[in-house]
């Protein structure tokens, strides 16, 4: 056996692609977790269809998982992939466009039968017709090798077929010099009570590794060293997990029970799944009969002194709108998490988008102001949610947290916070009946008292009808309504006094400021840094607080000649910035259900700086 060469890489992007039943998400997640433990910085992009098991071999059934990892700082899942693992012809066809010229393709040749080719719409076999000449193609009959590895086990051919993703994983572990231990441990834990499956998966994983070690197909192994991350203990975390943990941590800090009322919806269901595990933390999860019952039960729980939370995606927020208005009116704390997806209507359930910003800020009847906070990265979902809870409790208000499918399902290494050093959250319940009025207000925050049922002497009624200032009695008077509308608005505006000022990444003044919010953070950051490295005067402002905005946003905007706002919508933040600050900001908008590529943003920056736009 020839000695294999080892090359060192700073960063690499791999995409696993196969049928939605091929286990590509699992393969990608395992590769990610092992990579995280090795200390690489990373970012992931699961990209899967809405159909659970679309017909095998079809283009619309292709499921992909992309991971970008390196020894350098990684901010995006990668504009293009360097390596494509394609389990069949359809996976190749769908994903070949995202492979860099000269990139590597590893194909499962068994997935290129005449039937596969036909389903994928190939007239000729791309492995034979020279169309892949500009790539390095490695052909491996993964299915056959998997079957051989399992031939002495008495298991069904279906089970054999289901194991082949572990062969691909074993190969990739060998090529990128990753240990098998993490995945072996996972397989043992997951299939401990199904010995057949456990044995099959373990064998196939090792077979993939050994095959790569032995075969002449792979002559090079790659080394990707650990990244220079800030010191401390790390874990890999997805946005949805971080969001769930942020809620739990905040509730624990506040000494409140966490109550989640939720209805399953992609891509938010994982938050419900995650929280339902933690009963020993006092978390109550309630799978309601619909979205409306989800939020109403959460609001009822908040009335009772719990931290009421509801999690959903855009269509769910539409259904919850009336109840959010009720929460505004009764001034109870409530957290609404919107893991945005492609819209309108059912739209693209499994794809990402950030087109619910205006819905979040304005999407209710009447003047119903709600604070809105957006997470910027998967791990930032923890901090954003924690902050949302702080605000909800301090100001007695519903708060909307915006995440999206990309953040929710994507993952990155996370410097684990010291729980004891997280900000203090100390809500208080009113107990003194003397001088109690349900709609009296705190001088500083304008918050009304939280008086929970069970407290003697504080019996009172709240509801969706307009309240009389102070007493909280039903009141229809013109002047009172005007006063209350203004008070509710001012209460939310005053939160601006209680949040950090916005900070610019890069120079505080210059030719161009790129303003973003939410999950575009990594792509914008990468683009702006590269442009600055090329000597351009570009800075980046990323807004976490979208309502109210930090007090210095106007000041920041006015210091730049041009303002560019990339968004995965048709221009929502740009509309707000233009109307609020009267700046000639321009949008950069692509709504494809996918995150921005940083190179697209770079091109847009160049065009603007050249005066072409």
């Amino acid at each position: 056996m020839a000695e294999k060469r080892v090359e060192s890489l700073d960063e690499v992007t791999i995409r696993f692609a196969g049928d939605s039943g091929d286990g590509m998400q699992l393969t990608g997640t395992q590769f990610t977790n092992t990579t995280a433990i090795l200390g690489n910085d990373l970012s992931t992009l699961p990209d899967y269809p809405a159909e659970i098991r679309a017909p095998a071999g079809t283009l619309f059934g292709v499921s992909g998982f992309q991971i970008h990892f390196g020894s350098t700082e990684i901010n995006t899942p990668g504009d293009q992939c360097d390596v494509l693992v394609a389990m069949n012809a359809a996976a190749l066809k769908v994903n070949i466009g995202s492979l860099v010229d000269g990139g590597t393709i590893i194909v499962n040749t068994d997935g290129f039968s005449d039937k596969n080719l036909k389903l994928a719409g190939y007239e000729q076999n791309p492995l034979r017709d020279g169309s892949l000449d500009k790539y390095r193609v490695h052909e491996v009959d993964i299915s056959k090798l998997t079957a051989l590895a399992l031939q002495d086990l008495n298991i069904s051919s279906k089970l054999v077929d289901r194991s082949k993703n572990f062969f691909a994983l074993g190969m990739m572990y060998w090529i990128y010099n990753r240990p098998l231990e993490q995945t072996i441990g996972w397989i043992r834990g997951k299939f401990g009570n199904k010995p057949d499956i456990m044995e099959a998966n373990l064998r196939v994983l090792k077979a993939g590794w050994n095959f790569s070690e032995t075969t002449e197909i792979f002559s090079v192994r790659y080394e990707v060293g650990p990244a220079k991350l800030a010191p401390g203990r790390y874990r890999n975390i997805t946005g949805n997990q971080a969001l769930a943990w942020g809620l739990m941590a905040a509730a624990k800090k506040a000494k409140l029970d966490l109550f989640l009322g939720s209805y399953p919806i992609t891509p938010a269901s994982d938050v419900l799944h995650e929280l339902s595990i933690y009963k020993s933390y006092g978390v109550k999860t309630f799978q309601a009969e619909d979205e409306i019952a989800g939020i109403c039960s959460a609001l009822g729980a908040s009335f009772g002194g719990a931290l009421g939370v509801t999690t959903t995606s855009g269509p769910g927020v539409a259904l919850k709108s009336e109840a959010i208005g009720l929460a505004v009116m009764v001034e109870l704390p409530l957290i609404i998490c919107n893991i945005q997806r492609g819209g309108p209507s059912t739209g693209l359930p499994t794809k990402t988008e950030q087109a619910d910003l205006l819905q979040a800020i304005y999407g209710r009847n009447g003047e119903a102001p709600v604070p809105v906070i957006a997470a910027a990265t998967p791990s930032d979902c923890f901090d954003a949610t924690f902050e949302a809870v702080r605000i909800a409790l301090k100001y007695m208000t519903p708060v909307m947290v915006l995440s999206d499918g990309y953040l929710g399902n994507g993952s990155e290494p996370w410097l684990i916070p010291d729980y004891s050093k997280l900000p203090d959250i100390s809500p208080t319940f009113r107990t003194n009946p003397d001088g109690f009025f349900p709609y009296s207000r705190d001088d500083a925050t304008l918050a009304r008292p939280w008086a929970i049922p069970g407290t003697p002497g504080l019996e009172h009624r709240i509801g969706g009808l307009e309240k009389q200032h102070i007493t909280g009695n039903v009141n229809y008077e013109a002047e009172n309504h005007d006063k209350m509308v203004h008070l509710r608005a001012e209460k939310i505006e005053r939160i601006a006094n209680d949040i950090p000022l916005a900070t610019v990444e890069g120079n505080p003044e210059g030719d161009l400021l790129v303003v973003g919010w939410g999950g575009t953070y990594g792509a914008i950051k990468t683009a702006v840094v590269r442009q600055r490295e090329q000597g351009h005067s570009v800075s980046h402002l990323h807004l976490r607080y979208l309502n109210p905005m930090p007090k210095n946003v106007g000041e920041i905007l006015y210091k730049f000649k041009r303002i560019l706002v990339p968004e995965i919508n048709l221009g929502q933040l740009v509309k707000i910035l233009r109307s609020k600050y009267l700046v000639p900001a321009v949008g950069f908008n692509k709504v494809r259900g996918l995150p921005f590529k940083s190179v697209e943003i770079e091109r847009e920056i160049e065009e603007i700086l050249k005066g072409k736009k």
């Binding site: 790390y234 009322g261 009963k279 020993s280 729980a301 003697p456 019996e459």
Partner: protein, 350 residues
């Protein structure tokens, strides 16, 4: 670790249960229903029953949706929440799950509870959360000024149905039974004693109790239930259900209900053909019987059954929820957030 709620409840606990009168449950708000509305009676009977329940009023919460009946919480000197249309059951469910220590009541109507809120109602009933639902059925939309409701009789002429309504009406009792409710009853606004006894039983029931109350809307649907509530016709038109008792009705107590196969039929106790021993005996623990009795509702030749159709025990949702939490805590120990954050696969960067 104790939660803030537990701390507050401990610190504000009242040593002795206060003795209440009906007046203690009247809030300082003017009652604003139309004069002559059946709602007044339901409010009065509820306030009269409350002192007997042995529950301090600060431990009670009345939750409502939208409609005439839903103004109810404003008039009760307890905790109250006037929600949005149809969602009282969902709000109340969240409150009861968060706070099993509270006595939670839902006041709703035929529109609020069975039309816009029908979905939440059926799910509350099947879950069996310990909430008491009082559904005021006046067979009309009152607050929106007189459109037909999901319980209006077919052919109802209203503002929105000038040629008569086409919908077949819900029978609330059948709907509740079909939703696997564990306590289902019907009472009448003009029979205070009966209503008081039913409300008391509903309050004592562990699990969701559903009480349909025939309530007269004297403005938009006056007299809808007079056949069942007025002296002249009531005795011959209503059969009161009493656990363990044969179904006897009529001014002279001379008529009974007997089962012919699965079909109830009226028999005379006077002509010597049948005696009391032949009559159907009510059993509120019998789910099959409850369906048969409920089905009598819209049969014009049969008396309208009123009373407790069903009262059975089934695990109570929020108690099961508490059990799961207690079990998890016992098995895994009280959750430790710092530990969780550092659990699983982690690594250290120097």
């Amino acid at each position: 670790m104790k939660t803030l709620v537990e701390e507050i409840l401990k610190s504000t606990a009242v040593p002795e249960e206060a003795k209440y009168s009906a007046r203690d449950f009247q809030s300082d708000q003017d009652v604003r229903w139309c004069p002559g509305c059946g709602d007044y009676s339901v409010l009065a009977q509820t306030q009269r029953v409350m002192p007997d329940l042995g529950i301090p009023r600060h431990k009670m919460a009345f939750i409502s949706g939208i409609g005439c009946s839903s103004r109810f919480p404003y008039y009760m000197n307890t905790y109250g929440f006037h929600g949005i249309h149809g969602r009282a059951t969902a709000i109340a469910s969240g409150l009861k799950m968060a706070r099993p220590d509270l006595s939670v009541w839902v006041v709703t109507g035929d529109g609020d509870g069975m039309s816009i809120g029908g979905n939440h109602l059926i799910h509350l009933l099947r879950r069996n959360i310990d909430i008491n639902v009082l559904l005021f059925n006046n067979q009309i939309y009152g607050l929106t000024k007189g459109q037909y409701s999901p319980t209006s009789e077919m052919g109802k002429i209203t503002k929105s149905t000038p040629y008569g309504s086409l919908d077949y009406p819900f029978n609330p009792v059948s709907l509740a039974l079909g939703s696997s409710a564990t306590f289902v009853a019907r009472s009448l606004d003009r029979d205070p004693k009966h209503m008081q006894s039913v409300i008391k039983r509903a309050a004592g029931h562990k699990g969701t109790s559903f009480v349909e109350i025939y309530q007269n809307c004297n403005v938009f649907n006056d007299g809808a239930f007079f056949r069942f509530t007025e002296k002249e016709t009531k005795d011959d038109s209503v059969v009161f259900l009493e656990h363990g008792q044969p179904l006897i009705f009529g001014k002279e107590k001379d008529k009974g209900i007997r089962l012919n196969g699965f079909s109830p039929e009226i028999v005379s106790l006077k002509d010597g053909t049948y005696s009391v021993n032949d009559l159907l005996v009510h059993n509120e623990k019998d789910t099959t019987l409850s369906f048969i009795l409920a089905d009598m509702t819209y049969k014009p030749h049969l008396p309208r059954p009123v009373g407790i159709f069903l009262a059975i025990d089934r695990p109570v949702y929020e108690q099961e929820m508490e059990h799961q939490i207690a079990f998890a805590k016992e098995k895994r120990g009280e959750g430790d957030m710092a530990k969780l954050l550092n659990s699983g696969d982690t690594w250290v960067v120097q």
